[in-house]
C-alpha cells in the first residue's frame, strides 16, 4: 500500500511562514485507489511519470502503486508537494 498526500504551499494569513495545505490524501493498494480525504480534483491521474530506473513513462493504469510512489517526481515546481509514506500498511495489519 502506498499513502500519498498532495499539498499546496501557501503563506499563512500573517505572511510570516509557509504552510503545507493538504488538498487530497489517497491510498493505492494493488490497482485500487481510495481518496481518504480532500478534493479529488487535485489528483491528476493522467500525469505520466518518467521512471528513472527504466527510462519509460509510467502511467497510473500501468502500475497504480508504482505510479503513486513516484508522484513526488511529477511535482517539482515547489507550489505543489507530493509526499509518500512508503511504510503505510492497511489498518489492523500490524495489530
Amino acid at each position: 500500500m502506498v499513502h500519498v498526500k498532495l499539498a499546496s504551499r501557501e503563506l499563512n494569513d500573517e505572511r510570516t511562514a509557509y504552510v503545507d495545505v493538504v488538498r487530497v490524501e489517497l491510498t493505492v493498494q494493488g490497482r485500487e485507489l481510495e481518496v481518504v480525504s480532500g478534493d479529488r480534483s487535485w489528483l491528476d491521474l493522467e500525469i505520466p511519470i518518467l521512471d528513472a530506473e527504466t527510462g519509460r513513462s509510467l502511467r497510473f493504469e500501468d502500475d497504480p502503486e508504482a505510479w503513486a510512489r513516484r508522484l513526488p517526481d511529477a511535482y517539482r515546481s515547489g507550489d505543489i508537494v507530493a509526499t509518500v509514506d512508503e511504510a503505510a500498511v492497511p489498518v489492523g495489519v500490524l495489530a
Binding site: L11, S41, E46, A52, R56, P72, R76, G78
Partner: protein
C-alpha cells in the same frame, strides 16, 4: 558584457526587466525548503521583501538520478529554467507572458534558479481552458525548447487574468534521443490540425537563427544543446510546422 563562463554569460544578461530586477535584488524575507520524499529535486519557497513569491531550485538540490534519466546533467535543470525565460523574453509576447520569469541567484550560499511564482489552477481542465492562441503559442515554445515534461501539473491557468502560465523548464533543451515524458500542448496542436507555423512564428524562428548567438543562449547552453536548438528551429522553418512530440 559577456562573462567568461556559461553561468557568467547567463548572469550578464539578467536584470533587464522589473521582475528580473526584483528577483535579483529584493531581500529574502522567508526561505522555506520543501519537505518531501527523499531523492526528489529540492525546491524552496521564497517570499521576497517586495512581496513577490518565488521558488529557489538550487544546483545542489538537483536529483541527479532523475536528471540523468532525462538526459540532463546534474547542473542543467536550474540553467534551463533560466534559459527558457531568456528565450521567452528575447522572443517577446506571447512567450514572455507564458513563461515563468527565472534568474540565477545565490541565496544563503546556495546558487540556483529563482523562479517567479505563477498562480492559477492545474490539471486537465486548466490545460484546455486558455484561449486557442495561448495553447498554440505554448506548443510552439515547447517544440522549440524541446520540453520533455509538459504534463497537466506543469501549467497554471490564471482564469481572472485569462493567462496561461508555463512552469518547470528544468527538463528541456533536450537533444535527439532524449526521452519525452509528456508534451501535451505539442500533441494537442497536432491533434487539432494546427501544426502549421503562423507568420509570426516564422518571423520568430528567423530572428532566432539570424541572431549571432541564438538570442544569448549560445554560450549558456551546452554546445550540443545549443546546436540542437538551432537545428530544431531550422527544421521547423523548412517543414513549415512545429515538430512532433519527442522530435528533439
Amino acid at each position: 558584457m559577456r562573462g567568461a563562463t556559461p553561468l557568467g554569460n547567463l548572469r550578464s544578461l539578467q536584470g533587464a526587466t522589473v521582475v528580473e530586477q526584483d528577483l535579483l535584488t529584493s531581500p529574502v524575507r522567508i526561505y522555506s525548503p520543501t519537505v518531501t520524499s527523499p531523492g526528489v529535486n529540492t525546491t524552496s519557497s521564497v517570499l521576497l521583501a517586495s512581496g513577490r513569491e518565488a521558488f529557489h531550485k538550487t544546483f545542489a538540490g538537483v536529483n541527479r538520478t532523475a536528471a540523468h534519466a532525462y538526459g540532463q546533467g546534474g547542473d542543467t535543470p536550474p540553467v534551463h529554467e533560466c534559459c527558457a525565460w531568456r528565450l521567452a523574453i528575447a522572443l517577446g509576447p506571447p512567450y514572455s507572458e507564458l513563461v515563468a520569469v527565472a534568474v540565477l541567484r545565490e541565496i544563503n550560499g546556495e546558487d540556483g534558479a529563482l523562479i517567479d511564482r505563477r498562480y492559477g489552477t492545474k490539471g486537465a481542465a486548466a490545460a484546455v481552458a486558455p484561449p486557442l492562441g495561448q495553447r498554440l503559442a505554448a506548443a510552439f515554445f515547447d517544440s522549440l525548447i524541446a520540453q520533455q515534461d509538459r504534463h497537466v501539473g506543469n501549467l497554471r491557468w490564471d482564469a481572472p487574468a485569462a493567462q496561461l502560465g508555463l512552469i518547470d523548464h528544468g527538463y528541456a533543451f533536450a537533444t535527439p534521443g532524449h526521452p519525452c515524458n509528456a508534451s501535451l500542448f505539442v500533441g494537442h496542436r497536432h491533434g487539432i490540425g494546427h501544426a502549421d507555423l503562423t507568420s509570426a512564428e516564422v518571423v520568430a524562428l528567423e530572428q532566432l537563427l539570424g541572431s549571432p548567438d541564438l538570442m544569448g543562449l549560445d554560450g549558456i547552453l551546452e554546445p550540443g544543446r545549443a546546436s540542437a536548438l538551432a537545428d530544431r528551429a531550422s527544421r521547423m522553418l523548412a517543414a513549415g510546422n512545429i515538430l512532433v512530440v519527442g522530435d528533439f
